[in-house]
Symmetry: C2
């Protein structure tokens, strides 16, 4: 556990967040930080990641800690280090020192928590040791997979409404995560000419993140098989004609994330087919960002991407028909089967542990349309919201070889023309876009995305 | 999940391991592979690490898989990929394909497992989702923190006896892990002159491991505060007079680990006090390795290290008295408070999930002596055992400032002389040593450990 440089402006921000919560609920809330998970034996553990809902109000990644919030007051529950722990872990701050850093109003040993749980709401954390403790102390099932009910639901909605709009301290952290992620991508491009395998490019990228004393916000995707959307393998050898798709983002020590994807040619030169499709994806990316301003429905941004991609694929002769009609029958989703993006904050899919409570405006549900069902965000945009914009083009065998889809879209796809683009398996371009009062700001804008500039950065 | 290049010699080895187990127990054994843990939301998970006891017999890091072993026969239980998973994860091998790679005698969906559990022994895995499933299916508590009983204990002892002695396939993997770890340490030394913070050296080291498509076997220690034995912070700036202690090891895709520590001067030059203590630790290291041969008690190796360190500290005027007498009163443990090493294999502390069942010969228990209690291994050495040898010298404030210890050892420590060594906070030198028929082989011998050579590798 690292406690250092907690700025007074952070302490003020944390107090402000707690006061805002107090204005939204009239019952106590108890938030657990969680504990680390053992890897292959109890003393060899995965790195600790505090629950985001705890971090948002606590600011410190404390293990095995609990905070009770009521009326803007914070009571911290945490045990002092065990006697003897100083031998292995060094001198740790005491409960009182931690409480002071957080601006807590009180600090108590964990054993006292049971006296403070009455009528309190909570949110389930992810690790089983902790949600078991939550369930026992609150005397009801608190399970991460169960939708919250009653006051837990009220608390969840209140926290989601706060975390949807980022304050200045959050943005400071989010910008740091973005800057390091930009540097990681530039390092990945530069490392490609001398890399034999995907793993070597991944090493160059994650090396930058580790060197900044940050962690990856999610398991990196660094692959010549971008058509496998959640590819977490890194063993393929790089071939000169391959495109390398890298979806890599950093997370700051306080837990704030970035999420960037770039796709570049291993050889340093896009083929003409690769460049054509790349430019379609980039056109969608640019069109979407240009349309981001307060009040716009994120769903419309998604449909705009679908339209630009459909239009581009019609221009290339891959799709046949009127682009808008094609989008209406979800033909774009043959090649762009996921949503245009998602919320970004403390989590890379921000607040996805709350189900669709954060991503979907109250009363809205997921569409059952092939081209809309994977949309993770369906709300009107508001200043302070941070979203990803990540259009893509993929030739996913599971889609393109699906007999039902193939027959449904038989006449709108020019399959012969498509076969000329076989060196384009997967392209995605993803940036992190902050909604501002007057439009948007791309937090990851320092990372080039034009084909020519990308080629220069790979620079063979 | 990655399934490739399962060599036929591996399949033979796996079959051989299963047959050996069959010769030791006369009841069925069911081993679970485990599942990954969610990080901050369900879709964002920590990397999967299969249970080592499963890996030993299965060879493949399968998620959510179970194997039933009886009379040398293997029945695999695993579900085929969900429909639709190919979109996100690509085409996955089918149950039958996986079973074939493993040389399984049968393969069934997970739902059938409940028909096969009668009278079966098991070993608890680390993740709660899986040990809950183990407990439910076997209708008894199977908890990682509970010592095994009855046939579970018999199974545990049988597996420990097999895993204690490494076969050729295991050694192939262990040598790979060692080679990559050696490369990582050399990269760390080379990166030090241009590094500002510990994190940058860590990045250089872990970058090598990631580039080889391996993972770290444990959370790296890369610190200028080596006196904090389990230091997992990387934020300190490097100062010219600092020693940097790096305890970093790789783990192969099949789960086999290496574990290496080196300590080097940030400036590229040891001070004379640093060099003096370094040479005491190195003398202990070399003396221990020279004494490793079949039949020797590992406890004697530990006591040898204690003696060499005590002798060296007497020579330097830090301790006063007869070295053997000093060891008998545990005076060495003021500066060398941990054990000389541990078993190494699929786990960095091999089989520590089994408590002391693997580390301690039947009938032996941990000592309550200050200088022996942390010894993780207390057995006579046998050919095929792999152990670490890792003597160290630390000035741990929690020990040296402890009033009781300080008064007990008042007259054997020359505190004034000790104060001249204040630039030596922590030194450890650790290698991985295989017991052979005729002595030992240092698997990590390619990494230099002499002070002058270390200085050359840092090379300022």
């Amino acid at each position: 556990m690292l406690i250092q440089n907690t700025s007074s402006s952070l302490a003020d921000t944390l107090r402000h967040r707690r006061q805002k919560l107090a204005s939204l609920i009239n019952f106590p809330a108890i938030l657990w930080s969680g504990s680390s998970n053992p890897r292959n034996f109890p003393a060899n553990r995965f790195p600790f990641r505090a629950s985001s809902n705890f971090l948002y109000f606590a600011g410190l990644p404390l293990q095995n800690a609990v905070m009770r919030l009521e009326g803007g007051k914070l009571e911290l529950f945490i045990d002092d280090p065990q006697p003897g722990s100083a031998l292995w872990h060094g001198e740790m701050p005491t409960r009182e020192e931690i409480a002071q850093k957080m601006g807590a109003d009180g600090a108590r040993p964990m054993a006292e928590l049971e006296l403070w749980v009455e009528n309190a709401a909570t949110i389930a954390v992810q690790d089983a040791a902790t949600w078991t403790q939550q369930s026992q102390l609150l005397n009801r099932w608190v399970l991460p997979q169960n939708p919250p009910q009653g006051i837990d639901l009220e608390l969840t909605k209140a926290i989601a409404s706060l975390r949807l709009v980022h304050d200045e301290e959050a943005l400071i952290e989010l910008r740091k995560a973005a800057a390091v992620s930009v540097e990681a991508h530039i390092a990945g491009m530069a490392a490609t000419p001398n890399a034999r395998r995907e793993a070597e490019v991944r090493a160059a990228m994650e090396g930058v993140i580790i060197a900044h004393n940050m962690t990856t916000a999610y398991n990196s995707i660094v692959t010549v098989h971008g058509e496998v959307l959640h590819n977490e393998q890194y063993h393929h050898y790089l071939q000169p004609g391959d495109l390398l798709l890298a979806d890599v983002g950093a997370e700051t020590g306080m837990g704030w994330a970035a999420d960037i994807t770039r796709t570049w040619p291993v050889s340093g030169k896009f083929s003409s087919t690769q460049r054509d499709i790349y430019n379609v994806v980039l056109a969608a990316h640019d069109a979407c960002i240009a349309k981001i301003y307060p009040g716009v429905e994120y769903r419309e941004i998604h449909l705009l991407a679908a339209n630009v991609i459909a239009e581009g694929l019609v221009d290339l002769g891959i799709l046949q028909g009127n682009p808008q009609d094609l989008v209406e029958i979800d033909a774009h989703a043959l090649f762009f089967p996921h949503g245009i993006g998602h919320l970004l904050g403390l989590d890379v899919h921000d607040m996805e542990d709350l189900g669709d409570l954060a991503g979907y405006e109250e009363g809205r549900k997921r569409s059952d349309r092939f081209g809309l069902g994977y949309l993770r965000l369906n709300r009107p945009l508001r200043p302070g919201m941070l979203v990803t914009i990540e259009p893509g083009f993929y030739q996913v065998p599971a889609i393109l070889n699906d007999p039902q889809l193939r027959s449904k879209y038989q006449n709108v796809v020019n399959w012969e023309r498509l076969s000329e683009f076989s060196d384009v398996r997967g392209i995605r371009i993803e940036d992190d876009v902050l909604v501002t009062e007057t439009g948007s700001e791309v937090l990851t804008a320092a990372l080039p995305n034009h084909a020519n500039t990308i080629e220069d950065l790979v620079g063979c």
